[in-house]
Structure formats: structure tokens, C-alpha cells
């Protein structure tokens, strides 16, 4: 389960120490404060060019957090939380166009990791992480629902394309096709349409009864432990089914 933690400067310091690495140190030190990242950020452009939104500000706040360590207070943390989750989508545009190649997205992700140590993660992201641990996917799709959905979609598919199938756990298939949990939950037709393509292309493919959700909102939340767990699920499925390739949904 996602750890329910509260404001805890000691843990914050531990998180800082754990997350300190050579790249991060270098990036936080060499930023020349040139401001060339401003125009690359959609938060900056969409907020009437509010200078507080430029990517370098996010780097500056993470640097502050790294310097404060256990000297942080709740007011700082609150402000930090809103910047790091609310004003950056980690799209990496600024990293791409920074003359020094300072990877602000990775810096933001590290900042989110610091928030995770304080249990400060947006509620909806926490829910998805809990769901990953409980059901192996982000949308609380149960094992039963998943298999039912695949079988139902197979029936629909066969009405249009007799003979087409949605193979489940076919060992030794070439491609393991994984989806976004949103598909079985809200748009199951997407799965049968993908199956149609696989069938017509003559692909040797399969879906998996477990480890089939290719989203990783735990990574987006900055909870790297959970993110590793989620990726491992897909990897395990791929190894168990001995597939050559994992395909992810559009």
C-alpha cells in the first residue's frame, strides 16, 4: 500500500539524501539563470507569461528543498507541493531546449519523490497507486471484469470478423499487447479494434490475464518504489508468456 505518512522533516532529509545523485547536483549547480526555458513551458505561456511559471523556478525550488533538508517547514512544503505537482507536467520540453540540457522534468520528478516522503501526493494519484497494488491496474478493474471484458469483446469482434480471436495468456506468442486500464473500464471497443488490426495483419499476439496495464501513474506521482512495482508486473507477464515484444496501446 502507499505509505500514509505525514509532515516529517527527518524523512524529508532522508529522501533528499537518497535522491541526491551526480546529475541532479550538477544541474542544480550550473543553471546559469538565463531564462531561455521560459518560452518552452506551456504553463508559462498559458498563464499570461507569468514569470513565476518558468521551468527554472521549479529547479530553484527543488534546489531550496535540497538545501533545507530537515529544516523545512509546513509552509514551505505546501508551496513546494503546489509548484511541483500543479505547475509542471514533466513533459520535458524545457529539458530539450535548455542550452545546458538541464533536465527539469527529472528535477520535478525528484521533487515529487520528496513530497511522497511526506505523504503529500494528490488524492487521485494515491488512489491509482492503491489500485495498482490491489488489482494490478490503475482503475480498480478486477480480474473477473478483465477476463469478462476480453471475452465479450471477442464475441463482438467475431460478429464482424468470424474467426478472429483475442488470445489470452498464449505462451510463446510474438507480441504481448498491453492497454491503458481506461480501455476495459470505459472504452472496451478500443480493444476489439486493436484485435482487428492484429488479426488482419496476421500477427502472432496475445493479451495477458495479469500485468496488462501499461500506464504508470506511480511514476507520474514520483513514487518510484510503486513505479518499479508496476513496471515489474508487465515485465513478469512478458517473461512468463515468453513473448518477444511488448506492445503498448496508443
Amino acid at each position: 500500500m502507499a505509505e500514509a505518512t505525514a509532515f516529517d522533516p527527518k524523512k524529508f532529509k532522508e529522501a533528499v539524501e537518497e535522491k541526491t545523485n551526480a546529475r541532479l547536483k550538477m544541474w542544480l549547480e550550473i543553471c546559469a539563470h538565463c531564462g531561455l526555458c521560459a518560452d518552452t513551458c506551456h504553463f508559462y505561456l498559458a498563464n499570461d507569461k507569468d514569470p513565476q511559471m518558468i521551468p527554472a523556478i521549479k529547479g530553484k525550488k527543488v534546489l531550496e528543498a535540497f538545501k533545507k533538508k530537515d529544516k523545512i517547514d509546513e509552509k514551505f512544503l505546501e508551496d513546494f507541493y503546489w509548484t511541483i505537482y500543479g505547475e509542471c507536467t514533466m513533459c520535458r520540453r524545457c529539458s530539450m531546449f535548455c542550452p545546458f540540457g538541464i533536465d527539469i522534468a527529472t528535477i520535478t520528478s525528484t521533487g515529487r519523490g520528496l513530497c511522497v516522503s511526506q505523504g503529500k501526493v494528490p488524492e487521485n494519484l494515491v488512489k491509482t497507486i492503491e489500485s495498482y497494488y490491489e488489482h494490478g491496474n490503475q482503475m480498480e478493474v478486477t480480474q473477473e471484469d478483465w477476463i469478462d471484458t476480453l471475452q465479450w469483446m471477442e464475441e463482438e469482434l467475431q460478429e464482424e470478423l468470424p474467426g478472429a480471436t483475442i488470445p489470452i495468456d498464449k505462451k510463446g506468442a510474438k507480441v504481448l499487447y498491453t492497454v491503458n486500464a481506461r480501455e476495459p473500464k470505459f472504452y472496451p471497443m478500443d480493444i476489439s479494434q486493436a484485435a482487428m488490426v492484429f488479426y488482419l495483419a496476421g500477427e502472432d499476439w496475445t493479451m495477458s490475464s495479469k500485468g496488462w496495464d501499461d500506464t504508470n501513474l506511480a511514476m507520474f506521482a514520483g513514487d518510484l518504489k510503486a513505479a518499479g512495482y508496476v513496471s515489474q508486473l508487465v515485465r513478469d507477464a512478458a517473461e512468463e508468456l515468453e513473448v518477444k515484444r511488448v506492445a503498448i496501446t496508443e
Binding site: C31, H33, C34, G35, A38, K49, S95, F100
Partner: protein, 216 residues
Amino acid sequence: MRLYELLRGPLLWLAFGVFVGGMVVRVVLFFTLSTKKDKPIYRFFSWKWLGLSIFHWIVPLNETAKKNPVTTAVGFIFHFCLVVTPIFLLAHAVLWYESWQISWWSLPETTADYLALITIGCGIFLALRRIFLPYVRVVTTTADYLLLGVVLAPFVTGYLAYHQYFDYDTVLMLHIFFGELMLVVIPFTKLSHFLMFFFSRGITGMEFGRRSAPSW
């Protein structure tokens, strides 16, 4: 001229020592820490993407340069003059020759004079940018102005010394002092980007490159 001897002798050695030693320590620390905690660098290491990334940013062949032509031009000229002027200045070459009997090509004196003025001009532009552009002002710290001052001071005093404005001895000693100060602060400040740029740009180039995406 006691002070001059001191500046020209032991302090110069000290400055070079701190500069070179400091940067060596920086690089060694980078490697010791990164081999433990930055596995992606080594797992996805690629000379191709490292080289391409550095190349596209060391000559301005990138989107940022296209979108900010003036800043790019000024920044480029600034860095060029910053490196070329002191190395190929005739007066410096003479000093090298006196001490070590080594010599290399040097710039005509008037050219060097202009290069110094251009450097100062570019520096002023960069300072004005910090003052007048809101998105630069917001990330600017006092250290940014101080460092710009430390970098420009040897050029200002060098220009004054060459033209023998004010008291030559004082200006000359200030010139040497500021030059040494600049060398000393490099390893401890953002000025270390003269070397770390290659690390940072290379790493991000590889990070994008392993997804076949160019980062320029």
C-alpha cells in the same frame, strides 16, 4: 612593486592550482557519485548521441537559437571573446615567454582591444537582460550579477591598463587580481559550466537519443 611580485608569483600559482585542482575534484566527484547513483548514464551510454547533442549546442544549430537569435548571437560572441582574448593577447604571450620561453600566435593589439570592448558590451547586454526581462529577473540572484562582474572585471581593467588610464600600476594589479579571482571562483560556482556543460548536454542528449529523439 612588492604586491605585484606576490600577485604575479605565488598567488597566480595558487589561482591556477585552485582552478585546475577544483575542476579535477569536481569531475572525480561526479564520476564516483554517478557510477553509484546515475545508472542510466552508463546503461544507455552512446558516443553518437552525446556528440550530436554537444555539437548542436556548441554551434547554434538548435530551436532555442532560432527562437532567440539576439541572445544567442550575443552569448556566442561573449563566450568566444572571453576565451580567445586572454589566450591570444600579445601582452600575455610576452609574459608566458618571459617565464617559460614558450610562445604561440597572438592577436594584433588593436583587434584584441576591440575584442575586449565587445566582451564588455556583451556582458552589459546580459546584465540588462537580467534587469529588464521579467522571466530572467525572476530567477536572477545577487550571485549572478557578482559573477558577471567578476568575469568582466579583468576585461575592464585590462582595457584600462592597455590604454594606461588612471594609475597604471594599480590598474595592472587589479587586473591580475580579478583574473585570479575569476579562476578561483570557477570550480565553486555556475561558471564551472565551462566544463560541466559537456557532461550535462551529453547526458541529456543520450537520454533523448535512446528514444531516438534529438534534443535540439
